[in-house]
C-alpha cells in the first residue's frame, strides 16, 4: 500500500485542485473546493479500492492526507 497511489486516488476526487499540489502533508479539508460530497467520495473510494469502511468521524479527525492514509493502513 503506497501513499503515492492513495494521493492519486484522492486527487481524482477533486475537480479544481491540481493533482501536483497534493502531497501527504496537504490539509485537504482546507482546500477551496472541499465539500460534503468530496467527504462522501473519499469514504466510497476507500471502500472500493482498499475495502476499508471509513467513518465520517475518521474524516473529522484527520487533517492531512497522511492522517487519512494511516487510518486506512491500520484497518486494511
Amino acid at each position: 500500500m503506497e501513499i503515492q497511489d492513495f494521493i492519486a486516488s484522492i486527487a481524482e476526487l477533486f475537480e479544481d485542485t491540481d493533482a501536483n499540489d497534493l502531497t501527504a502533508d496537504t490539509r485537504f479539508k482546507e482546500l477551496a473546493e472541499w465539500s460534503s460530497l468530496i467527504a462522501l467520495s473519499i469514504i466510497a473510494m476507500v471502500d472500493e479500492e482498499y475495502d476499508v469502511a471509513l467513518k465520517g468521524d475518521d474524516i473529522r479527525k484527520s487533517n492531512t492526507i497522511q492522517d487519512l492514509f494511516n487510518i486506512v493502513k491500520e484497518n486494511a
Binding site: S35, L37, S41, K55
Partner: protein, 253 residues
C-alpha cells in the same frame, strides 16, 4: 364517544413493522382500536412489536415474517392476510451515502427492489386478490428525499422514493373504482435506526437538525400519527396526495 380518528374495527396491514416508523405506526393503530397485521423480516424484533400491540378493546393482531424484496415473500404474506381496511407500507432500506460515480448495479437494484418494487407489487396483489375492502385507505411512506429535497450521495434512495410517490398517484386513480384512497407521507429526518449512517458524525447530525424550523429531527410517533389520520375516516376526502412531516425543513430551504 365522538372520535372520527378512531380505527376501531378496522384491520390494517403494517409493513416494515419491526422497526422505526412502521413499528410506531403498528403500535399507534393498535391504540386507536385497529386489528393490526405486522410484518417484517426479523422475527425477534417483529415479535417484540407484536407483543406491544394494545389489546384493551379486544383487538385481534397477527404477525407474518416475510422478505418483501422477494416474490415468494410477497406471495407468502398475501396468502396469510385477512381482508384489510388499511395498508401502511413502510419497508425501506438505504445503502450508505454513495456519490453517483461510486454506484454499482447491486446497490441500485437492492434499493429499488425494497423501496419501490416491493410496495408496487404488494399493492397490486392486495387489489387484484380483493384483499382491500371497499373504502380502504393505503398509506405509503415516501420521503422528502427525492421528492422535495436532494442532497448529494442519496440519488438512488431519492429516486426510489420519487418513483414510489408517483406510483401512489396512479394507484389513487385506479383504485378509486372501489373507493380505495391512496396517499403518501413524506417525512424529513426521523430518529430511527435507518438514519444512523456511519458516514455522518454526531456533529454533522446536530448541525443538520438545526436546519429544521423546530430545531430537531422527528420521532417515529409523529409520522405514525399522520399515517393513522390518513388510515382513519377523518381523512375520507383525501386521496392522491402527500403529507409532508418534516418539522419545517423544506419550507426553510
Amino acid at each position: 364517544m365522538y372520535n372520527p380518528f378512531s380505527l376501531n374495527g378496522k384491520t390494517i396491514l403494517v409493513t416494515g413493522g419491526s422497526s422505526g416508523i412502521g413499528r410506531a405506526t403498528a403500535i399507534e393503530c393498535g391504540k386507536l382500536g385497529a386489528n393490526v397485521v405486522v410484518t417484517g423480516r426479523n422475527p425477534e424484533r417483529l415479535k417484540g412489536v407484536f407483543d406491544e400491540l394494545d389489546t384493551s378493546a379486544a383487538q385481534r393482531h397477527q404477525m407474518v415474517v416475510a422478505d418483501l424484496a422477494t416474490t415468494d415473500g410477497i406471495d407468502c404474506l398475501t396468502a396469510a392476510l385477512p381482508n384489510l381496511d388499511g395498508l401502511s407500507s413502510n419497508a425501506g432500506t438505504i445503502v450508505g451515502n454513495k456519490p453517483i460515480r461510486f454506484l454499482n448495479e447491486m446497490d441500485i437494484q437492492s434499493i429499488m427492489q425494497t423501496n419501490t418494487f416491493a410496495h408496487v407489487l404488494l399493492a397490486k396483489l392486495l387489489f387484484k386478490k380483493k384483499l382491500l375492502n371497499k373504502g380502504a385507505s393505503c398509506v405509503f411512506t415516501v420521503s422528502i428525499g427525492g421528492t422535495l429535497s436532494h442532497v448529494p450521495g442519496s440519488s438512488i434512495y431519492g429516486m426510489s422514493k420519487a418513483a414510489l410517490d408517483s406510483f401512489v398517484k396512479y394507484a389513487a386513480i385506479e383504485f378509486s373504482a372501489r373507493g380505495i384512497r391512496c396517499n403518501s407521507v413524506c417525512p424529513g429526518m426521523i430518529d430511527t435506526p435507518l438514519v444512523n449512517s456511519p458516514t455522518l458524525t454526531d456533529e454533522d447530525m446536530a448541525i443538520d437538525a438545526q436546519k429544521y424550523l423546530l430545531k430537531r429531527y422527528g420521532k417515529p410517533e409523529e409520522v405514525a400519527r399522520t399515517a393513522a389520520f390518513l388510515l382513519s375516516d377523518a381523512s375520507s376526502f383525501i386521496t392522491g396526495t402527500s403529507i409532508v412531516v418534516d418539522g419545517g425543513y423544506t419550507v426553510n430551504h
